[in-house]
């Protein structure tokens, strides 16, 4: 079963300049379709969540935006430039799989990365000093990377991607493997860059993190778009009809209620989608069994994803992840 894109109307973005535009892009590897007929638009200055389970096509899409790989079909425009000839100095990138030159000093390595972004030496040194101070790493500037702790290395990796003060910063699973303290440090730095005008394209499989941080959300599953819009708009579309229920009755009893359209068992509670008056649902439930929780909620992104793709699809996705692991 393949997830279908819901009928969410694209955002009215007439006043928003798009920094990344993808139109009908398809990318295949042999017989495997990584990205299928994908279209999206990243508004300038936004914190754009690019979410989906592992193996859904996020990294392939990011690599196409960066011109590391090229689409088989479709068009990609970055900052108005759709030439596929060169990587863009205005785009910073923190890949999911990260590595550093262990034998180099922190400053020397950052100078090299800045040079690759065509930064003049003096400007690069200024930026390096700023970021090392920001992350309290000044005393480590001339130490070799191999002497840094894991947390410090992760900060240096972030600095490397942000050193050129890019107009677009693409972060692929930026919090993966970070402890809570370093997660907060990086999160704060990301938000600071956004406030300064950098557009953040934030790729993650952790929908909770995306929900907390992002203005816009684009959800991809098995190479196809399943959600696209602002968080508020997505929740407004999916939110009003959700009820969280904890009670002593059975799922069969729930399905017997005419207003109940769908029941998702979340373990500790059930999530119910209705097509009618929730008061009528409550009155029927109370007649059937004891109710300990009845809450009308907006669904989380995770809930919405399950609703769109179906729990069995999520299960299949987990299996795919396990196979990949």
């Amino acid at each position: 079963m393949r997830a279908r894109a819901p009928t969410i109307t694209p955002l009215p973005c007439e006043n928003i300049v798009s920094v990344v535009t993808i139109e009908n892009v398809t990318k295949t590897y042999g017989s495997y379709t990584a990205v299928s007929d994908l279209s999206l638009s990243v508004p300038a200055g936004s914190l754009y969540g690019f979410i989906g389970p592992n193996g859904s096509g996020k990294t392939s899409t990011i690599r196409m935006i960066l011109r590391i790989i090229h689409p088989d079909q479709g068009r990609i425009s970055v900052l108005g430039d759709d030439s596929a000839s060169a990587a863009n100095d205005q785009v910073g990138y923190l890949p999911e799989e990260r590595g550093l030159y262990k034998k180099l000093s922190v400053r020397r390595m950052l100078q090299y990365y800045a040079a690759l972004k065509s930064m003049p030496r003096a400007e690069a040194n200024e930026a390096i000093d700023h970021w090392l101070k920001r992350f309290e790493l000044e005393s480590w500037a001339n130490k070799k990377i191999e002497s840094l702790s894991k947390g410090m290395s992760q900060k240096v990796q972030f600095i490397a991607s942000a050193i050129s003060n890019p107009k677009i910063l693409i972060l692929d699973e930026p919090f993966s493997g970070l402890d809570p303290v370093n997660t907060e440090v990086i999160r704060s730095a990301v938000l600071e860059m956004q406030r300064r005008g950098t557009t953040i394209l934030f790729s993650t499989h952790d929908m909770g993190t995306a929900e907390k941080m992002c203005d816009f959300v684009f959800m991809i599953f098995r190479g196809e778009k399943v959600l696209d819009g602002t968080l508020d708009e997505i929740k407004a579309t999916y939110g009003a009809d959700s009820i969280r229920l904890r009670w002593e009755g059975t799922p069969e009893q729930l399905n017997s209620i005419r207003e109940v359209e769908r029941v998702i068992d979340m373990g500790g509670f059930q999530e119910i989608q209705t097509n009618g008056d929730s008061r009528r649902v409550l009155s029927q439930l109370v007649e059937m069994a004891n109710v300990s929780l009845f809450e009308i909620t907006q669904p989380s992104l995770h809930d919405i994803f399950i609703r769109i793709a179906g729990p069995e699809v999520l299960e299949a996705s987990r299996e795919e992840e396990e196979v990949q692991a």
Binding site: R67, A87, P95, R98, G99, Y112, Y113, L116, S118
Partner: protein
């Protein structure tokens, strides 16, 4: 181009400031110089223990001569005096000769003498057969020892016996010793370059005419072997350490490969300059610098550049295509064969640089840089059209290697898992 230069500058500086490079540059002359110094210092460290030899002279006419010659040797030939005078010092071992009469049971005599050698009473014994003066007989001098590696003593015995045998044979023919020397005097052959109408003809130095092409070829081989496999390791290491993806988000894979190639070529040229400079210095010291034309240095620089571009791009493509060193090693094997072809063809080319084989193999582009240089270094050198053709073919081949390596690099640098087959690599090259 700026990004290519940024990568090249980084790669070059990292390489030439590394301890490995500095040690390599400094240590090689140190090792070579050290070997000369050690040889000089140990030249007099010879075993001066006296050697006693028993001689069974079945002719009955040679022992006295041997004993007399040994007296002369022990008195004069085993001592040397320094150029600045001073006391003579012994530099060779003294011999002592013991007469042993032949016996009817030769085998028993041989066993007894062998036992004396085993008990260190004797160093060796020699049996001079009865018919050594008769040229029609195949008579020999048999030398017995338990240290066959020591050749000084048997060589001396041979020389003394043969000298006396020759003298006696010539006497029988009625010739004087002077007559014999006159008859035996050889006519030396001296080799020269061609005579110019207005130029000075120079006598050829045989050692030099061998050493220049041989040394140049070896140096070029060393440059390729120091630089190209290092490129493979460099690319593979970046891939294994997950640095590559970050790099190709800032530069295109082709720019990255080209930058690395330029950096590596720079390292190779730096090394070459250092070693050629040292070679030139030595040539000047020994006053043979005028025998090595300056254009030869330029040809070396040009061909080493092409060799580094060819093999550097191929090795970097292999590094990009593989994810593990083990996989890279199996792909390297056929390329290594290309690298060592010139080494295998060196002898026939030095022997006959203008043969059909030499011409053909020196126009095979992967081998051209080393072999065409060797041919140019051997006077009179190949025809101009051969050099021009070699330059064109090799330059085109080098450009093709860079282009194909760029294609493989682009696909391979982000690929993971098993190393691609040769057919897969070809399909990567042909991918648009």
């Amino acid at each position: 181009m700026n990004k290519v230069l940024a990568v090249a500058k980084y790669e070059y500086l990292i390489a030439v400031t590394s301890k490995a490079f500095l040690l390599g540059v400094v240590m090689m002359p140190v090792f070579m110089g050290g070997a000369i110094v050690v040889q000089y210092l140990t030249r007099d460290q010879v075993d001066l223990t006296a050697r006693k030899i028993a001689v069974v002279d079945k002719t009955g006419r040679l022992f006295d001569v041997i004993e007399q010659q040994n007296k002369i040797r022990n008195e004069f030939e085993i001592f040397e005096t320094d150029e600045d005078g001073g006391e003579p010092r012994q530099t060779r071992a003294e011999f002592s000769i013991e007469r042993v009469e032949p016996e009817s049971d030769e085998e028993e005599l041989g066993i007894r003498l062998s036992d004396r050698i085993r008990s260190n009473e004797l160093f060796a014994f020699a049996v001079i057969e009865e018919d050594v003066f008769d040229p029609s007989k195949q008579a020999t001098v048999r030398y017995y020892s338990q240290t066959p590696s020591y050749q000084t003593l048997p060589n001396w015995i041979e020389r003394v016996v043969n000298g006396e045998v020759k003298r006696e044979r010539t006497e029988q023919l009625g010739l004087s010793n002077e007559d014999v020397l006159s008859l035996a005097r050889t006519v030396p052959t001296r080799t020269f370059g061609l005579i110019e109408r207005d130029g000075e003809v120079k006598e050829e130095n045989r050692v030099l005419t061998f050493m220049v092409p041989f040394g140049g070829l070896m140096l070029m081989f060393m440059m390729v072997m120091s630089v190209a496999p290092a490129m493979l390791n460099n690319v593979l290491e970046e891939k294994m350490q997950k640095i590559s993806e970050f790099l190709v988000s800032s530069v295109t894979p082709f720019q990255l490969m080209l930058g690395k190639l330029f950096g590596a070529v720079g390292v190779g040229l730096t090394l070459s300059t250092i070693y050629l400079g040292a070679a030139y210095g030595m040539a000047r010291y020994f006053e043979i610098d005028d025998r090595i034309p300056f254009t030869l240095y330029l040809w070396f620089a040009f061909f080493v550049l092409l060799a580094l571009v060819i093999f550097g791009s191929i090795f970097s493509a292999i590094g990009a295509a593989c994810s593990e060193i083990r996989d890279a090693q199996s792909l390297m094997t056929p390329v290594m064969l290309l690298v060592i072809i010139p080494m295998m063809c060196m002898a026939p080319i030095l022997d006959s640089p203008s043969s059909t084989f030499s011409r053909a193999i020196s126009l095979f582009p992967p081998a051209t840089p080393m072999l065409m240089f060797a041919r140019i270094a051997i006077p009179p050198g190949p025809a101009l059209w051969e050099i021009v053709l070699a330059v064109i073919l090799t330059a085109l081949f080098a450009a093709g290697c860079v282009w194909a390596a760029g294609k493989v690099f682009r696909v391979g640098i982000l690929s993971q898992g098993q190393a691609p087959s040769f057919a897969k690599l070809v399909s990567w090259v042909l991918t648009k």
